[in-house]
Each structure stands twice: as C-alpha cells, then as structure tokens.
Point group: C2
Chain length 479, copies 2
C-alpha cells in the first residue's frame, strides 16, 4: 500500500486503537449507510444497498432452484394474532413497535409492525392448505422488519433491518427437518462462494433458540475482535404454530394432521460481517464476487493526451468480459481516487497513465494485499478474471486461518477464561445443563454460540459442574 | 374456447353481470392475492408477486441504464418531519397509520408508517449535497407504503401496496423537469413493451396534482367498464421541499442555491390494470412478456405410455429457448388443468397426447383468442417464440382499439353527460378554471384525468362556463 494512501485514510480510526469506532467509521466513510432522525433506523445508501442486492440475487437464484416462491405479507400484525403462539409472543413482546391510530381514529386491536412473520404465514397457510396434495408450501419473503432495540449499531443490531424470511409447511417431520438443514447449507454456500466468510454450522442450545422453535440451527462467524456474530438461522417448529392456528391437512391415510413447519432468514447483518471480517485500516475490503464494483479504472495524469481515451477503452474491454467495472473520470487527483476506492474496498484497481500507454502496459493493484501487477494490455482481461478468483480464495483462506487459530479446546474454567480473554471460541465439553450455560454467562459474559455439527468429543466431564459431558459446544462473547 | 372450459370457469361472475365482482373473483381464483385479517392489507400470493417481479426486473434495468441507484430509507417518519412541508402533510394527514408505543414505552414524536418518502429523502439529501458536483442525485427505492384508506379493493386501493419511488435532486429546473418527463416515458414504455396497455400521457390539473408538487404528470389507462385508472405519476417539485428542509448547494457561480427535485412511482396497482384491461369471463389473460409462466405443457391421457416422457422433452426444448415454461404432471384431469391455466391467464398452452405423438405433432392454444394451432414437433419452439410477440401485439392492439373507441369529443354539457354515460373519456376544451372542474365532479362524479400532451384544440369555449377555452382535457369517472 502506498504511504500516500495510508496518510489520506488516516481519517478513520485504526482497528487496534478502537475496533468499534473503526467499524462505525468504515460504515460512514465507505458510504454504506447514514443515520436517519429516528434512533436505530438507518438509511441504506446506494453502495451498501448494492451489496445487499448482490446477496439477494445469489439467494433468490438458490431459493428458486430449490422450489421456493416469493410472496409478500402485510407489514402489520394485529396484537391478537401475534399472541396466538405463547412462546413466540413472550420472545417478541418487549421489542414491538405498535400502531394505535389509523386515519385519526384509535385502532381496537393495535397493529404491531412486523418483527418476523411466522404468525402471518401460518394464518394464511390455514386458509390454503387442506390436503397432502397442497404440501409442501415453500414460501419466501424479502422485506424489512422492526424490532425496538435499545442499543443499536449499523447493520449489526437495528430497530429496522432488511432480510429474507422463508416459511415452509411439510407433510412430515423428516421433510421439514431436512428443509431446515438444506437452507442452512445454502447460507453456508453463500459464505463460501460470495462473502468469503467461513461459517461454523451448528444447533442452538435450548436457551439460545428462537422463540417458538423446536430446533434452531445457525451459521456463526468469528470477528477479528474475537467476538462471534450469529449470521443466519433456520428453525424447525414442529407443529406448534400449526396447532395454535388450526392448520390441518388430510393425509394420505385420510386422517387429519398438522403440517410440520420451518422458517429461516439472513439479514443485512451480513454486511456487518463482511465489513469486520475483511476490512483494514484503509477501509472496506470487499470479496470480489459480492462487490458491486469489482474493478475501478483510474486515469493517471488524466490531462495528458490519450489517457482518458485509453482508460475508456480498457473499461469497455473489462465490461465486455462480464466484470462489474467503473471508470472514474472526475477531476479529482489520482491519489485522492486511490484512497476513495480503497475506502470502498473495490477489489482491483486499474491504473493507466502516459508511461503505461507508451509501454503497452496496464497496472493492476489488489485491494486485499496491495500487490501491484504490471501486465500487457492484451493480457489485462484474462488477468483480471483470474485475479477475481484468486483474491476471493486469498480472502477466504485468510478468514479461515484466523478462525482456526481462534478455536481453543478448554478443559477447566481457567482455560475457558483464558480462551475468552484471547478472543474467539472456547470449545468445551458440556453436560447440556442450562445452569452451566447461565453460570458461564454470569462469569464471562460469553454465550453458547452453537453445538457444532462437527462433534469430536475430547473430554469426559463438563468443566463447570464436573458432571458427565454430552456435547461439544462453542462459547464466545457475541454481538 | 372449448365448451367444457367455459362451464368449469363459470365459477366466476361474468363481466357483464357484475364487473366489480368479476374483478374480485379473478384476483382470488387466479391466486393472485388473499385477504389478511387486517382490512385493506392484502397478501401477495406467489403468482401475483411473480408478475410484480417481472415489472421490477424491467424497471430496474431501465432505471439503472438511466443512472439511477437503489437505496432503502426507514419505514417510519417522525410526525415532526412529515409536517415540514405544509401542502404535503395536508394531503397525507388523513391517511396516516401512527405508531405511539415502542418497546412498551410511549414515543414522544409519534412515528408515521411511510405513506411516501419525500421527507426522508429530502432530509438525507440535506446531509449529502453541498456542491453542484454532488448533483444530480438519482435515487430509487422499492418498498411498501401504508395509507389508511376507508374503502379498499385488491391492487387498486389498499391500506398497503408495493411500489417503487424515485427521488431525485438536480442543479437546474430544466434538468429536473426533463427527468420527470423522462421517467414518464419509461412508464409509457413499460405499458407498451410489457403490459400491452396503451397509456395516455399528460399533466394533472392543479386540483388533481400531488400534495406538494409544482407539476404532476401521469400515465392514465382506460378500463373496460369505462372508468379511468391513474397508473403512475411523476412530479416536479421545484425547490419547495429543498427550502423547507434546508437543502442547498454551492453552484458553479460560487453562490448557494436550492436544488430542483422530482419524484415518481408506479405500484402494484398495475396488476389491477392488467387484470381489467385483458381479462375475460374465463379469468386472467396475461400479456406474454409479463407472464411468470409463458407456456404451460399439459399431457393429455397422461397415463398412456410415452406421454409423460414426450411432455418432458417438449418442456426441456421450450425452456432451452429461454421461454418461461411449466409442465403440469399432477394427477388432475387434462380438462381441469386447461381451466386452471386459463384462469391464470397463461398465454400459450401446449397439449401433447398419444395421437399427437404418433403424428409427430404438438397442439398449441392461444389464451387470448382460444385459437388452436397444430405444428410439427420440430417447428414448435420457433412457433412459440413467434406467438409470444404475436399475442402481445394482438393484446396491445385490442386495448388500443377499445381506448380509441372510447374517447368522445364533447362540446356541451349534454354531450359530456352522454359520453360519460357511455363510458370512457369525455374530451373537452377547458377554460382552466377549477370551478368548472368542481362543477363537473358535482354533476357527473367524473374528474379531470389529465391534460394530454397531445393538444389539438377543437373548440373555442369551455362548455361549462362559456368562457374562452385554453386546453384540451380528458374527463372520466375513475378508480
């Protein structure tokens, strides 16, 4: 990285000085978001929203390939409807935003701005499902949800966030459980293919599962400050909602039964994961497959004859190869532009100046490593296409190495404390007793992130209570 | 159309018996929507939502080509913010849904669920615009809005609907006015290219324009019951909002100025236009370019050997040509399926049975005319691709012929009454006095739909007051 740029981008806090402030600085300076006048409700600016659109495009394709259909449910839920499933309302009641007045008149059954839509989907399913022939129903919705949070941070925890919520109904428990696991795999693929983030897949403990679920699965990511970030969840509900809402179907045996239900979602919280996992002191570093701009072309000494036309020609060549490219012809200095697109995390910078033109060369700079590569003009497109995959792999491997380096097997409370102090996951054998979970939370403020699918026992007793250990579990401090 | 199908689809009301009931029947039976438990808030079912996705895809492409960027603004507006522009709040106050309670506590400045987002965009623009170099700002948002309407009808008027809202800021009046007209052209293209609906473009009268706008333009469609349907609007705001919100920029001359603003939107109301303009007594008739399923393949005598494999082969051939095709292999009867996909308005039905297979033939049926075409298997794909354009053209021309046949030039009040009685537009010369507009509304319940761009004067005086006429204006009863 050129010194010039390091100086310019010193306008943001350094990670080692204050990671939380660095994060907020990047959100603002990379123009991903802005605050609105209502606390916790953020504005998704074009660059931030464009990243979300890339995620939407990937998931929509995967959802449709697996037979899911998009729908749109109302933005409000009558209080009486949200109360129908007991555990569910207990979980969400403290976070509700409630509308009491419509058209100047009081609303008898106040309307809750949806915090999640299980109740709306289940009510609708009760009307449209009557036979096993109507199953499965595989619906998904893209929308925003509102949760009245006291402490908010851009993308990570907000009063409103964007997400998708899948809601499905199945004939059998087996089929519904398979669905919940299948969607978790798609989220895991999203991390590996698009976000360059290695997720850890697992099951949530009873204490940490979703309000109303029988089983909650999640993808967990590890941030560079050592904290965990729950990045997506899928739930198997059994027939709890179906019973509460009277959803029944005539089975193949002619008998009435309740269908088995799932829901699953990821949100704009993923933007927070991308920022933290990959970012550095010069700003955002975007994985190339999710980057709205994969390549930026910057003319150097743009006022010299031939430079702008050459930059345009390169841009057209790159565009024609299907790469998302932007040419910055503005009258800002080249150095200023270098900093700007570093802040915005554009994976590849193309520099073209009079000397390059004379030599028939193009200079490519990788955002993730700062590496400069000079290639012949005719090799540029092929090199860029190769670099896109190469950068993605480098970023994924770097994140994976960090993750592997921050999973510590612990056998007693001292080791647990030390591991959490270092940051990352404390990997522990656990008796499955919620009391031990509570005790760890009290002592360390860490929570059980998940019971990973990958279960290789390494100890016999739970280090908290000394009783027989049953499961491997990952503890961490979390967002 | 086979008699069999006409009998089956008699489950919906006939248009001539009760057009309004026919409309509601189609919305429900074609599975476009369902009612939720909150009045006026509908559920967009997969088939209805998929039509909206086609419209989104078309418009997103056109918006991005013309330099617009998508963003997402909060779903709530503080009351104090919505009140900043006087005309605007006057227009929207009676329709507001207001949230007073968040997390169990009263909210000091109650939050209005967005009915439209001019105020949010303008507040944000005040923060990010400071120089002419920051202009234009060309933002668009896909979202839902809430308007607390007393009388609601699916897609046409709802307490919540889906839409896009563009909000732009410009250096000069000229540029902003050009933007408002350019977006109107894109909406008009949408009608001609995708929806097969001929829109009438024009300017709204002072009385009918948007709350806070200097000028409102609209695309107007004519429904088969003779009523007009405003199908999309674009607005030029001047600097009113910018002044109220303190948006200023340093101009090229170094002086501070207020930018000129536009907004523009179309909504799921377009689904209502599609249903009414093209539908018939057998249900929906979808224009092929907007149809989520363009071709349905139905095996006839599906239990006979070879029929299902043949149907699958045809489906693959059609799919490979880029056409959206669905094969219905379910165990329902072929006749039942014919009716179902007629109800859903699928433009082309492919029938394949033992006799077709033996002869090497395929039978194609056009939904819009009922015409049956038998082609050799190897000609099928080319014929389908030709039919898609042919059907679109036929549907557009039919709608255009209806429109042209329902514009009546009127020279006095008797002719105005007669024209409105017949249904369609009464085309009138007008003095531009709002009193005459009010009088026509009182007497006939018709409103000025627009002052069409196409102005060819045909009379000297306003038939209401006898004063000098200045403009051609179209009156109609409207949704």
């Amino acid at each position: 990285m050129a010194n010039e740029n390091q100086i310019k981008n010193s306008s943001i806090t350094r990670q080692e000085d204050d990671f939380a402030q660095w994060y907020t600085d990047v959100c603002k300076k990379a123009e991903l978001m802005d605050y609105s006048s209502v606390k916790g409700f953020i504005i998704y600016r074009p660059y931030g929203y464009a990243i979300w659109e890339q995620i939407q495009e990937y998931l929509n394709k995967r959802f449709k390939e697996t037979g899911h259909e998009n729908v749109y449910m109302p933005t409000v839920i009558p209080t009486s409807l949200l109360q129908k499933e007991k555990d569910h309302i207990e979980g969400f009641a403290p976070e509700c935003l409630v509308a009491n007045v419509g058209g100047g008149e009081p609303i008898e059954d106040p309307l809750i701005i949806r915090p999640t839509s299980e109740t709306l989907f289940t009510e609708h399913y009760a009307k449209i499902i009557s036979s096993y022939r109507d199953l499965p129903k595989l619906y998904n919705q893209w929308c925003s949800v509102v949760r009245w949070e006291k402490t908010t941070r851009p993308f990570l925890r907000g009063a409103e966030f964007l997400w998708q919520e899948g809601h499905t109904m199945h004939e059998t428990e087996q089929e519904a459980r398979t669905e919940a696991l299948k969607m978790l795999e798609i989220y895991d693929d999203l991390g590996r293919d698009l976000l360059a983030i290695p997720f850890t897949k697992g099951r949530k403990t009873e204490k940490e599962k979703f309000a109303g679920a029988v089983e909650t699965y999640s993808i967990e990511a590890l941030m560079p400050d050592g904290k965990g970030l729950q990045s997506g969840t899928t739930h198997y509900f059994g027939t709890g909602f179906a019973k509460a809402f009277g959803v029944t179907f005539q089975g193949r045996d002619g008998k009435l039964a309740n269908p088995h239900q799932t829901s699953w979602g990821v949100s704009t919280r993923l933007l927070g994961a991308i920022i933290m996992v990959h970012g550095d002191d010069n700003g955002l570093v975007l994985p190339p497959h999710v980057a709205p701009i994969q390549v930026v072309v910057i003319p150097v000494a743009a006022n010299k004859p031939g430079v702008i036309p050459a930059a345009r020609e390169l841009t057209d060549m790159i565009k024609a190869s299907g790469v998302r490219v932007k040419l910055d012809e503005s009258d800002k200095s080249a150095g200023w532009k270098f900093s700007e697109y570093e802040m915005k995390g554009v994976p590849i910078r193309v520099e073209i100046g009079p000397r390059d033109i004379e030599a028939g060369n193009v200079t490519l700079v990788k955002r993730n490593t700062g590496e400069k590569i000079t290639v012949k003009k005719e090799e540029m497109v092929a090199t860029i296409n190769k670099l896109i995959d190469e950068i993605h792999d480098e970023m994924y491997k770097k994140a994976l190495a960090y993750l592997l380096n921050h999973v510590t097997e612990v056998h007693n409370m001292d080791e647990l404390n030390a591991a959490l102090e270092k940051g990352g996951y404390a990997k522990m054998m656990w008796c499955e007793d919620e009391e031990c979970e509570n005790k760890i939370k009290e002592l360390t403020n860490a929570t059980a992130r998940c019971i990973p699918f990958n279960q290789i026992p390494f100890d016999d007793v739970c280090p908290v209570c000394g009783k027989k250990a049953k499961k491997v579990v990952l503890f961490a401090k979390a967002y």
